[in-house]
Amino acid sequence: MSSDLRTSSDARPAGAADTPVVAAPAPKGRRPPVSEDSRLAIEIRSLVERGEMEEARERFGGLVAVHQRRASRIAYQYLRDAAEADEAVQDAFVKVFAHIASYREAWPFEVWFTRILINGCLDRRKARARRDRWFVSSIDATPADEARASAAIAAPGANPEARLLARERRSRLAAAIERLSGRQRDVFMLCHYGDCTPREVSAITGLNESTVRVHLFRAARKLRGFLGGTP
């Protein structure tokens, strides 16, 4: 498996920025009910193992359709760049298909996929930080994003003032999320943007469920403080 699925566990500092997401060990004894997408993933795995690649690709299209929008939302919130988020989502799906043989039904497919996606996003963030040390910063919106935002503001029928205000609100929110520590940001994004429950976040990150709740609560409290609410 690629380095994205880092399986060694607790060697990372809690709250360290952009630390890779490491899976928690699979639960022993009790097995969660298999979800629809997990069942589909298992079918695709069997097809790949039998060498029926065409059929596997076709079935995989169904998985892409189910998870694509959510994946794009998570990737965009991590990367704040539409093109890069697009690439990250594509890479995650391709990686999942290429390594489908190593998928185990101990965890839902969604958890496995999200872990791969987030590791890809974190790698991209790291690469961008490295690039920014030597080249012009790309943290700000790219020209394409700027053009898209301008086009959206100038779109007929749209209220330009409302759109501008929305854009300002979003950039404030993004800046506030950026100010969270790495672990808090991961947990918050997975829970609020990735629709994960604390238990699923625990499975994705390898953190204890109660630790996830604490991170989540602290992240929310900080965010409310940053955004001018009651800290």
């Binding site: 790949v48 794009s72 594509q90 391709v94 290429a98 898209r148 929305a166 929310a220």
Partner: protein
């Protein structure tokens, strides 16, 4: 005496929010307290409003960027990339002719020996021809010198010696040196030349 339950702490309120959002079983005492206490109810409503607003902003932003067309294009792109997964990479043979010829070890050794021999022969021939032409050129040069005679060879020195004689030559030398001096004194930059023309010079005042 009725003892009023203390207000809910923020973390408990947040847990309540998470449980409610996930559709899990909520904490019954917390639910009861929220029903009774207006202050905690207001705090909870504010928390829910903030978190919902955060989520709604993210949803709206993602919908604006990842339109259905863009998602369709992304799907197609993923499908195209998946076409290459599990297929062996195409290797381009280089250089094709040499590979197809399939030379045996002894043949290859023979070819290498011939290459070395050709290179050595080329070097020897090159050095021989070079030395031959050098000798030829020297003898031809010497013959030319003999044909023109010693006065031709001495002509430049004679010219130098005779140049300083006579007042006409002296005047032209003077003019040449003066021109040279002027050229050196003037600025070389064309933009500065008008300023130079306006400025009085020492040579003009003499």
């Amino acid at each position: 005496m009725i003892v009023r339950a203390p207000h809910l702490r923020d973390d408990r309120l947040f847990d309540y929010y998470l449980a409610e959002r996930a559709g899990d079983i909520v904490d019954p005492p917390a639910a009861e307290h929220l029903g009774d206490c207006a202050a905690c109810g207001a705090r909870y409503a504010e928390l829910v409003r903030t978190m919902d607003a955060v989520r709604a902003e993210a949803d709206a932003e993602t919908d604006e960027i990842f339109t259905p067309e863009r998602l369709r294009a992304q799907q197609q792109q993923i499908a195209r990339r998946l076409e290459h997964v599990g297929r062996a990479a195409r290797v381009i043979s280089f250089p094709g002719r040499l590979v197809s010829r399939h030379m045996s070890g002894s043949t290859a050794r023979g070819v290498t020996q011939w290459v070395y021999a050709a290179a050595a022969a080329g070097l020897v021939i090159g050095v021989g021809l070079g030395s031959f032409y050098n000798t030829e050129w020297r003898s031809a040069h010497r013959a030319r010198q003999v044909a023109t005679g010693p006065e031709t060879i001495l002509a430049p020195s004679t010219a130098v010696a005779t140049r300083g004689t006579g007042p006409a030559v002296e005047a032209s030398d003077e003019a040449f040196l003066s021109d040279l001096e002027v050229a050196l004194e003037r600025p070389h930059t064309s933009e500065l030349q008008p300023f130079d023309a306006l400025t009085p010079h020492v040579r003009e005042s003499r």
